[in-house]
């Protein structure tokens, strides 16, 4: 089978329908080809691979595909296309002063991401475009050349809805009247709500919890990590229960994804577990030895994706911890690896003679 045919099969087969062995047999040649592709086009990637894996041969399994740490995208330009073919630059959302990842897309990679996300969302949301509430402000997506991860996420999702309503203003204030008007018009039939987990909780849920709204026809898709919510002791279970109690909203899908692999998102199924789409996969590694870990042993998450052509991001070691729950579990609706994300690798403070408190000292 040619690589194109394998890619098409992964994209066109119903998502989550492939057994792990079949999926790996289709994915492996694509990933091997991507390693070669980026080695030939991105000198930095070529240097890394030649030193990290001086005797690299074609990988015999996805776990043998070399990976690079996600932090490199924050400090280095890793790009497999000439500058004039850069169609979009994505950046991660970092707080002020933090370094952000830079991801360079050409038209083809952007197209693949859009198509891929479409396949995943069609599986989750159904084929119809429905009215959509965006829990964000429309000011976010004005600059169309350079995108923060948040803007890219919103823009990517806009395609799956119509009659978009931006629920927040630029001060993150909820437009209550607008929301009521939207629900009056569309609330009795299926509609979509999308936003980042923390914002959905803080700026949306906390405002509507006592408004007595009926969101029972809605489907909420949210992403972006639990760190800030964990600080407020809000778990995924609590999040779901609160929405159901306050607004009868039951269809809630959390997903795991990152700006370094837009399009390859891992959506939560009814069982509360995350599943890789056909064209992507995860591997859990032992942080001490970097060996692949079997199900139920927690470790560092490596993400694989067949999408990235314009930057060497087909195999990335994240800074997130996760655990595989099962592989090809009982449900025929969801095959492949079922996993949970356990949070970020805790930052470690090393002891020693130096410190970084100077700014505070001087303040």
């Amino acid at each position: 089978m040619t690589e194109d045919a394998a890619f098409d099969q992964l994209l066109e087969s119903p998502q989550y329908s492939l057994t792990q062995p079949l999926k790996e047999s289709l994915l492996l040649p694509l990933l091997n080809a991507l390693t070669d592709h980026h080695r030939a086009r991105c000198p930095e990637y070529a240097k890394l691979i030649s030193l990290l894996h001086p005797e690299l041969k074609q990988a015999g399994s996805p776990a043998e595909i070399p990976f690079i740490p996600v932090g490199l995208f924050k400090t280095h330009v890793l790009c497999s296309i000439p500058p004039d073919e850069v169609f979009k630059t994505l950046t991660s959302s970092g707080t002020t002063g933090q370094q952000v990842s830079q991801i360079f897309l050409d038209r083809e990679t952007a197209r693949r991401q859009t198509v891929a996300l479409g396949r995943i969302m069609a599986q989750v949301l159904g084929p119809e475009r429905v009215p959509m509430i965006v829990v964000d402000s429309n000011g976010l997506v004005r600059d169309r050349g350079r995108f923060s991860a948040r803007a890219a996420g919103v823009l990517g999702m806009l395609n799956f809805g119509r009659n978009h309503f931006y629920a927040l203003d630029e001060h993150m204030d909820l437009d209550e009247n607008g929301l009521r008007a939207f629900l009056e018009k569309f609330g009795s039939k299926p509609f979509l709500i999308f936003g980042f987990t923390f914002m959905v909780w803080q700026y949306f849920f906390e405002r509507i919890r006592d408004m007595g709204l009926d969101l029972s026809q809605g489907t909420l898709v949210h992403s972006g990590g639990w760190k800030k919510l964990q600080e407020r002791a809000v778990s995924n279970v609590e999040f779901r229960r609160s929405f159901e109690e306050a607004a009868k909203l039951k269809r809630i899908f959390n997903f795991y994804g990152m700006v370094e692999q837009v399009g390859s998102v891992y959506v939560e199924a009814e069982d509360g577990l995350l599943y890789p789409p056909n064209f992507a996969d995860i591997i859990i590694r032992d942080p001490a030895t970097m060996r692949e870990l079997p199900p139920s042993e927690p470790g560092v998450i490596q993400v694989l994706s067949a999408l990235p052509l314009s930057y060497p991001g087909h195999s990335i070691l994240t800074e997130d911890l996760g655990v595989i729950h099962s592989i090809d579990g009982s449900s025929s609706e969801r095959r492949g690896k079922a996993f949970r994300v356990l949070g970020r690798v805790p930052k470690s403070e090393l002891r020693g003679c130096s410190d970084t408190h100077a700014v505070e000292v001087a303040a």
């Binding site: 240097k47 470690s348 003679c353 130096s354 100077a358 000292v361």
Partner: protein
């Protein structure tokens, strides 16, 4: 402005009262007075007797150094600083500012200061390691058993980053001692001292190790492993974050010899890491891997080995514009060189300790002359990187923490 007093009494106290107590405390002991040596003995004994302290090798090393048999003989070194016409006397009040992620190294400069008869004020940041917490409790026991005169000669306080308090304490200091990163040193330096006061700074440093490949290859197996164990202590006791822990390994000899010595040494080091059970946290490991990848892109790296994840080693093809940035946590850079002299052009004032094996004193002295002050403050055998000496960062601390009074009849 209140601060938390840790020693001699645990209490909240006005910063101004701390100053008043220090200034009213008589400087009643001359350098190396028997009472001071006795106090060191008591402190040392209480550390040795403390059960939890046995879990911290650095506290054991400190207690060993503080024995009267350890510090007593240093008096000879101090006396040699005096001439026919000069006598050493204390400077007065020494204000110590250890780093925020404080470790026990600051205790050495404080003890040296105390041995010279100074009164000491030590500022700890709001979070301290278990080692330092334990040490302060043992210190209070030692002070409780001591002459009341001692009780206000050392005051340890804890406060955040309130500039006003640091200003007040600095105003009453005769010497200020700053440990910390370059930024910390710069920030505190902007706070004025009295015109007569002096300042010692211990900023970020970088340390390295040099081994003559031929000599290492000439060792038998037991000796070869023994040297690796010493290197392990130098490097891993403080997660390679002590300023005197080596981060760059310089192999001297021809390329083939250097390569053989390097593989043998680092294989044995990996075995040692496993034997000792050194297992850094996941965050440190991830940081180390990311650092290694960045180094591959930014530096003239010619080879990368990771010894099954236990020990990343990056071989450099050149030391030109050598970057001292380092992640700590057990990552080695290495360079093959014909001899020590090839290292000289790369040395800067950032370089502190050179631990070495296989060089004779003439070679080392020639090397120091060649450097002519450009960098490197200590050259010691492998295994002694962390052994504190009163010669530190280019200072003779006995000299710097005292004044010479000239007397002529």
């Amino acid at each position: 402005m209140t601060v938390r007093e840790i020693a001699p009494v645990e209490q909240c106290v006005e910063a101004s009262e701390v100053v008043a107590r220090l200034q009213s405390a008589p400087s009643s002991f001359p350098p190396f007075a028997p009472e001071i040596i006795q106090f060191c003995g008591r402190f040392s004994r209480l550390i040795f007797q403390n059960k939890p302290a046995r879990g911290f090798p650095e506290l054991q090393a400190l207690a060993f150094w503080m024995r009267p048999a350890g510090v007593g003989p240093l008096n000879d070194a101090v006396r040699r600083l005096e001439t026919r016409h000069t006598r050493l006397v204390p400077r007065g009040v020494v204000f110590h500012i250890p780093p925020a992620n404080v470790d026990t190294i600051f205790v050495y400069s404080w003890i040296v200061s105390m041995l010279m008869g100074n009164r000491n004020l030590i500022r700890l940041s709001s979070s301290v390691t278990p080692q330092v917490d334990l040490l302060c409790r043992i210190l209070n026991e030692a002070l409780a058993e001591s002459d009341p005169v001692f009780r206000n000669q050392t005051i340890i306080v804890q406060y955040g980053h309130e500039r006003e308090i640091t200003e007040l304490f600095s105003q009453s200091a005769d010497v200020r001692v700053i440990w910390g990163g370059d930024q910390t040193v710069n920030a505190i330096r902007s706070i004025p001292l009295p015109p007569h006061a002096s300042e010692l700074t211990f900023p970020d440093r970088f340390s390295l190790c040099a081994i003559r490949a031929e000599n290492y290859l000439g060792l038998d197996e037991a000796q070869g492993i023994g040297l690796v164990e010493k290197f392990y202590n130098d490097t891993f006791w403080f997660d390679q974050m002590a300023c005197s822990s080596p981060r760059l390994m310089l192999w001297c000899g021809d390329k083939a010899e250097c390569g053989r010595a390097s593989s043998l040494f680092f294989c044995r080091l990996q075995e040692c890491i496993r034997r000792k059970g050194y297992a850094p946290e996941t965050g440190i490991r991830m940081n180390r891997f990311t650092f290694a990848c960045r180094a591959i892109l930014d530096r003239p790296v010619t080879a990368y080995q990771d010894f099954q994840g236990d020990l990343p080693v990056l071989t450099l093809g050149s030391l030109e514009n050598f970057s001292r940035d380092h992640c700590g946590g057990g990552l080695m850079l290495e360079f093959y060189s014909s001899g020590l002299d090839a290292l000289a052009p790369a040395v800067t004032h950032r370089d502190q300790t050179l631990t070495q094996f296989g060089f004779d004193s003439i070679e080392l002295e020639t090397f120091v002359k060649l450097l002519n002050g450009r960098g490197i403050d200590r050259i010691v055998p492998i295994g002694e990187a962390l052994h504190f000496q009163h010669f530190w960062d280019g200072y003779d601390l006995f000299q710097s923490l005292s004044r010479s009074v000239y007397v002529q009849t």
